[in-house]
């Protein structure tokens, strides 16, 4: 129950922060503009594609690329959203209040994580609403769109967990945001050198987030990819919990 109380408290804090609203407004405006451009391009090439028997459709040319843009924005948005969740509490001196109310560190972390995840899922849902509004007028590949959406959900969940972990270790929210951004970018492109050298397998490629997101965006769901995200989320949240528990021990 205390997890939900913390989640509710964090959700309320997010709702009244101008940063969350500004981020939502700017990113959705950007995504809306890009949706219009993608749609225009799709409509312009419709006649040529009609000649191709298995040509790319609305999902390939509008839906998935739009989600790809959201994935790019997430690298900036998620660290900004998560930076204050624990580092901000540490600065306000409000963490001891939660400890004193008998809320275990694990529930504090989980509650805050769920609140951030809720915001991010709403953000994804609003983005997804753009291609879905045309579902009645075009042919959507529901399977591919669902796989891409799952990929985005997992990616946002992993970035949020990474951000919460960085916030738990940082003394200042700005440091948490910078650390989360750098770690996320490093995790995305850790295999860049290997890719350029033509190496497509091995541990370095397994470690990279891009290796696990791209198949999902192409419509390929693999339990190994899902497991990679689950492991990253679990590891990040466990680290955040341990850090918070140390805070309580040290005082």
């Amino acid at each position: 129950m205390s997890t939900l109380v913390v989640a509710r408290l964090e959700w309320r804090r997010q709702l009244v922060r101008p940063l969350a609203w500004v981020l939502a407004a700017l990113t959705l405006a950007w995504l809306g503009w890009n949706f219009t451009l993608l749609l225009g391009s799709f409509l312009a090439g419709q006649i040529q594609r009609a000649a191709l028997p298995d040509g790319p459709g609305f999902t390939d040319l509008v839906g998935v690329p739009l989600l790809g843009q959201l994935a790019q924005l997430a690298f900036l948005v998620v660290p900004l959203l998560t930076m204050s969740v624990i580092a901000g509490d540490r600065r306000n001196g409000t963490l001891p209040s939660l400890f004193a109310a008998g809320v275990p560190a694990s529930r504090i972390v989980l509650g805050k994580y769920l609140a951030i995840l809720g915001w991010l899922l709403l953000w994804l849902l609003l983005t997804l609403a753009m291609p879905l509004t045309l579902a009645h007028a075009t042919h959507l590949d529901w399977g591919k769109l669902a796989a891409a959406t799952l990929g985005l959900v997992l990616m946002l969940a992993a970035l949020a967990a990474l951000g919460v972990a960085c916030s738990s270790f940082a003394s200042h929210p700005a440091i948490a945001a910078a650390a989360a951004l750098i770690l996320a970018l490093a995790l995305w492109s850790v295999n860049l050198g290997a890719q350029m050298a033509g190496v497509n397998g091995g541990a370095i490629n397994w470690l990279a987030m891009s290796t696990h997101v791209q198949p999902l965006l192409r419509g390929l769901v693999s339990s190994a990819d899902v497991l990679w995200f689950v492991l990253l989320i679990a590891l990040s949240l466990v680290l955040a919990t341990r850090r918070l528990a140390t805070d309580k021990e040290r005082g």
């Binding site: 922060r17 409000t94 939660l98 109310a101 309580k248």
Partner: protein, 252 residues
């Protein structure tokens, strides 16, 4: 809301041989204290004496390295959730979320302390009325003055009617009228059966509201005895004697 059996013989709060290190030095050493219901204990000491560390441990925000803390006979280090309903804590600097209004703070603290629905609404209404927070109810905590922040912190500590009220320098930033109101609230709480621990630097605060005084120095208890009503000079003498020339602990 805490219900305590009137027949309970044990003190509501009992510290036994509590010790704690902080930042590589001894903050509290072998501290034993017992506090019955309805008693106000003043905790005195110079800066760094270990008062805030002691209060943080009693509030459940900090674990002792050694010793035990019992609430109504139950070890709350083994059951940290006891602190949720039993203890109300106002730290030295009222911990507030600047994005929440006064009313939202009370709701959040009430939920964290286990209040729900009608009980929460009733508790919030009562405490807003009692601490005269009506004009501030919809104001964000981030824009409150220091005195208003302290009042809100006190409201959060009292909201769930705790059995033990832990106040760490609550008169900080309060004007004389608010100090008088604070003293009245402390007396009312004690009359209602709440055990109150009040840490302060103001000796007059102790003689005005406390039944008993404990003086800490270098993390060690140096004095624990009754406060003689109005005998400010005696308390001042004892305090300065310990602060300037600390000797091994003794009970008065």
């Amino acid at each position: 809301m805490t219900k305590i059996s009137p027949a309970t013989p044990a003190p509501v709060l009992q510290l036994e041989h509590v010790s704690r290190h902080r930042a590589g030095r001894v903050a509290v050493q072998d501290l034993s204290l017992a506090l019955p219901r309805g008693q106000v204990l003043g905790l005195l000491g110079v800066n760094g004496a270990g008062k805030s560390t002691t209060l943080s441990m009693i509030a459940g925000a900090l674990r002792p390295d050694r010793g035990s803390i019992k609430l109504n006979g139950e070890d709350f280090l083994e059951q940290p959730e006891l602190a949720r309903a039993w203890i109300g804590w106002l730290p030295e600097r009222a911990p507030l979320w600047p994005e929440l209004t006064v009313s939202e703070h009370l709701d959040a603290h009430g939920r964290l302390r286990g209040l729900r629905g009608a009980a929460l609404r009733e508790a919030r209404t009562n405490i807003i009325e009692r601490l005269e927070l009506q004009p501030l109810a919809r104001r964000l905590a981030g824009v409150l003055s220091q005195g208003q922040r302290q009042r809100l912190g006190l409201a959060c500590a009292l909201l769930h009617q705790p059995a033990v009220l832990v106040l760490d320098e609550p008169a900080n930033a309060l004007d004389p009228v608010q100090v008088a109101a604070l003293r009245k609230i402390i007396r009312e709480q004690a009359d209602a059966g709440t055990a109150v621990i009040l840490s302060t630097h103001l000796l007059a605060e102790v003689t005005a509201v406390c039944h008993r005084v404990a003086i800490l120095h270098d993390g060690t208890l140096h004095h624990d005895g009754a406060v003689l009503a109005g005998d400010h000079a005696a308390l001042e003498r004892t305090f300065f004697e310990i602060a300037m020339n600390p000797r091994p602990a003794h009970a008065a």
